[in-house]
Amino acid sequence: MAGVHTHIGAYHILHGVDLVVPKGQVTLLLGRNGAGKTTTLRTLMGLWAASQGSIRWNGQDITATDTASRARLGVGYVPESMAVFADLTVAENLLLAAHKASRMEDVDAQRLQWIKQLFPAVETFWHYPAGKLSGGQKQMVAVARAVIEPRELLVIDEPSKGLAPAIVANLLEALKEVKRQGTTILLVEQNLAFARRLGDQVAVMEDGRIVHAASQADFIADQAAQQRYLGLSL
């Protein structure tokens, strides 16, 4: 993303975001509440239109590409707060995200098995309406949905929010595996203890801008930057 501005109604939320998400790495997008992290992700997905600046994907300009086409380029998006389709069953939720399959039998069985192992709730509640699940279970379904097929980029908005530690551990395992398979990840996360075990790059937002970008190793070493931008040290 280069110089991206986003307006939502009369509000000017992003003021020229420059963000590079290197291929095959995990980029953490950090910042205080209201800094514009979620808006950045939504603009990246095309859910909000960028009013200025450009968004490039593998060298190709996708600023004007609609959301559905961006998703079909190989982007999995996990919106914040348990974004499942409540009226659909867990199975239907997953199948929706599998573009190459129209029936469950067409989904890669090995991958499905792997997902069910990582997220037991997915298997247990396979035929239940996703809306009846608990918050943590919904979150697992949402992440499982995003990884049902190999993606090139995974965009995840605060996946660990409100989850029990044991489930966060599973989530970490899943994302590590996804990363190992070569998927690029852009992760917004407040739970730094969780995020730092995945991250390669760090970008910090403030008032709709990226104010600091570094490798995670450098950022962890830089106590002053942590204090300045996050008000804490890792």
Partner: protein
Amino acid sequence: MISRLLSHDLPNSRALAFILGVLFLALLFAPFWVPSIKALNLAAKVLIFILLVASFDLLLGYTGIVSFAHTMFFGIGAYGVAIATNAWGPSWSAVITGALAALGLSALLALAIALFSLRVRAIFFAMITLAMAAAFQTLASQLSEITGGEDGLNFRLPELLNPSTVWWEGNPFGINFNGKMLTYYLIFVAVLLLFLALLRIVNSPFGSVLKAIRENEFRAEALGYRVVHFRALSSVLSALFATAAGVLLALWLRYNGPDTSLSFEIMLDILLILVIGGMGSMYGSIIGTVIFILAQGYLQDLLRMASGLAKGIPFLPALLSPDRWLLWLGLMFVLAVYFFPQGIVGRLRDKKQ
């Protein structure tokens, strides 16, 4: 076998399955047991409205689109048959040509409305459909040379479907095996097949996408589905099924006019039936239609009886006067919405879970 026919969307509640089974048998054998022509008319109306309401459910219940133009498509179907048979005489080719032309026109109109207006907010879309429906109704009554205007069109159907055509001389228990009965079964089979087709549609992957869109269009879009395309396709399909219901109505009545198939009252009836029966479950259209049409047909008689019984008690007979049937129907509606916010089918299925 049954599960496959129903696209594995079973009633999921013993009570519901039982009620549906009884209704199926009752409608299947209606010509043999209903006591009067009026009752058989109601049975045919029930069949046609099941299809009409179910097609509206595809739009409102499954896709979350509020449209007031549904009776327009219903009317197009009925007018298609009426105008064609009126112009070309009572032949099968006229009926089929009329029906096909109606289906084509409906598909085009639905697509046009969808592409022009599905991008706007839901409330504006509803307003646009309302305007279209009103314009179409005016058109139907103004173009009196073609449509018969306010008086509508009386027309004849192919010989086989005429009530005077008797195809079995035997007359056991006073049952007439005539063209009217044949028409009834034609409608029965058509409604059954089209209803099963609708069940198949809503339970297909396409149906899941529609439900996803209804719940959150942005999320559906972020999963890679072009919401506008899916909404447009849903609108067109729903319009086609409504048109088919209109064709069946014309076959049954052998008459069509603005009040029979285009009126705004029918649109309100469809909405009420769907809300009473339960949105987003095809079976809701069956339960809702039966209750509503029986109430419409028999509430007046029932009230007349009750009013007679209440004679001598002050105030009560007046309240129960048959002329006040709409008041009671309205009251029933309010109670239904209050006690079954998810409709009767939603309530029955919830109990199970």
